[in-house]
Symmetry: C2
Subunit: 330 residues, 2 copies
DNA sequence: CTGAAAGCGCTTACAG
DNA sequence: CTGAAAGCGCTTACAG
């Protein structure tokens, strides 16, 4: 591979001039610029970005910590990150953490080792050994740590769950099951809170026995639904904290001979592409997945470059999408 | 941040010795080793990997070119890549190309600029300006370019499609629609070939009017099915080239009043997690998605390190999974 | 086993 | 507008 030195020799100028021609062409005379560009073409020179990054002390790379890349919602978030990163001149390193603290720390350490300039964390953990030492540029998106000083991009999960519960209650349901995510997730807690608020406003009481735990996967939704529907008097509606669990729940309900929504209404969350194509199409909360990514990346860009972001706590809009998996209580 | 120089001063040794303590501790006396390690702890020294990479002329990073990261099959492949890369000491850069040649080239160029040591391409394109100049370490996985000299990891798509078609034919279907991927894809062509082979072996003729084109998305499957089922005499079975299109097709069939599989059998390909939970559960071909990734990464590792890979053309096993979306012709 | 020294390919004040 | 020179933080022959 040709280096900047090879180019400078052929062009008959110094390496500084070649460098300048590349980075600040207006600071170079037209004549010299042509000389250099010709030499670049002749040698098929490509600047060594690794050397440049090393010299300028920035990697122009960010690392994204994602608990599960195969989750369709996160995939879309990452797509949003990648597109914006590309536009802003950053490369994206993939850190599939499986939610493991050890892997989160390993990947987050890349900032200390100059391999990355910043971090986007999609899980509700602080990915540092010392939780008080969040000195790295980091944005916490999607499921966010409550009360940390990390900047966030999130949904108003309380309000969204509240609106969903309200919709269910408006259909006449009073005995409502809930399939929630794992207990230590901020998203889970917020959505549960919204659910409870709607119950309360409707004068209904929250029955902890109606709450089942899943892990956001299809089978976990099916298992939870099985428990709920095996009760002597099963609930007439189930609110699920994501679409996968809702799809698993509906599948299980059908298997057990329940009709959806005639016997039981089921709702999801996220509005993944499959939601609309499922039978019945899922009533759910749509979220602008790509925007989580693009907003997080833009904010991180400001943080890395010591600009004050417009906002350090972005709340993205949601939308209740009513389809056919919910119906009036019979 | 502390540098290797800071550590060396505190430990009272040369930087070379600090470097050695890190990379070849057995070449350093126990006493010195302790001195150095203490100094490392005291200064909280973290080696600058960017500098190390620059110095050793390798980035320990690979870039993966994926047409669509939100595709559930590719997500799993990438998960396999990431896990194996991590194990082998490589970081993974994400190149969401949207199938665009321009973006493929941009990302593939990272090898020339020292930002990456190798490439995994998941699409059937040669991602270089000059298609004959595949000098970069590259592995072509999933949808592979036919007749290029890039090493490959793929499925025997001809055999898989053949087996699927055989299954459909064995149920008595003779008028079979096919919803295929885009025309220029190797996967598409191979699967079509397998389909035709089974027809031929069964003495059936291939009817080009029964072939619809999709783009592997849910809506495209629905649209294609709509065309197929609007025919005066619609086919009694539809073979789809992936699960999303099959799910879209079933959804559309149901909308149009067809029962699946009673009126029409529908098959998918990939066995994504939703396939099993759909109604009816999808008859499909399962592929070991993560293994595409791990095999590709292992092969790329050998290529990067100038070891001869065990095989340069890996064929992964598939499995016909018969569920309830296929049934006997009535 | 250890250290002095060269050097990886760039960028960037500085001087002219 | 241009060049000489320093230097980013490491690694690695080489010599002892």
């Amino acid at each position: 591979m040709a280096t900047i030195r090879d180019v400078s020799k052929i062009a008959g100028v110094s390496v500084a001039t070649v460098s300048r021609t590349l980075s600040k062409p207006d600071k170079v005379s037209e004549k010299t610029r042509k000389l250099v560009n010709d030499a670049i073409k002749q040698t098929n020179y490509k600047p060594d970005i690794l050397a440049r990054n090393f010299r300028t002390r920035k990697s122009s790379t960010i690392v994204v910590l994602v608990p599960d890349i195969a989750n369709p919602f996160f995939s879309r978030v990452i797509r949003g990150i990648e597109q914006t990163a590309q536009r802003l001149g950053y490369a994206v390193l993939l850190g599939d953490t499986q939610g493991l603290r050890e892997r989160e720390i390993t990947y987050a350490n890349m900032v200390y080792t100059s391999q990355a300039d910043g971090i986007i964390q999609l899980d509700c953990h602080i990915p540092f050994e010392d939780k008080n030492d969040c000195t790295s540029p980091i944005v916490n998106a999607c499921d966010c740590v409550r009360g940390s000083n990390m900047p966030t991009v999130q949904l108003d999960n309380v309000a969204a769950a509240k609106e969903m519960a309200k919709h269910i209650i408006s259909l006449g349901h009073t005995d409502i099951g809930i399939i929630s995510g794992p207990e230590n997730s901020t998203i889970t807690n917020d959505r549960l809170r919204g659910f409870k608020q709607s119950l309360e406003e409707a004068g209904l009481s929250y029955n902890p026995a109606n709450r089942m735990f899943g892990d956001y996967s299809l089978p976990s939704g099916a298992m939870a639904a099985s428990d709920l529907l095996s009760k002597p008097i099963p609930p007439t509606a189930i609110m699920c904290m994501n679409d996968e669990m809702a799809i698993g729940a509906i599948r299980q309900a059908k298997k057990m001979g329940f009709s959806v929504p005639d016997d039981i209404s089921v709702t999801g969350f996220d509005d993944i592409s499959f939601a609309e194509f499922f039978d019945p199409p899922l009533t759910t909360i749509s979220q602008p997945a790509e925007e989580f990514g693009s907003n997080a990346m833009e904010m991180l860009f400001d943080l890395i470059n010591n600009k004050e972001p417009e906002s350090k706590n972005i709340l993205l809009p949601f939308n209740l999408v009513i389809r056919e998996s919910t119906g009036n209580k019979k």
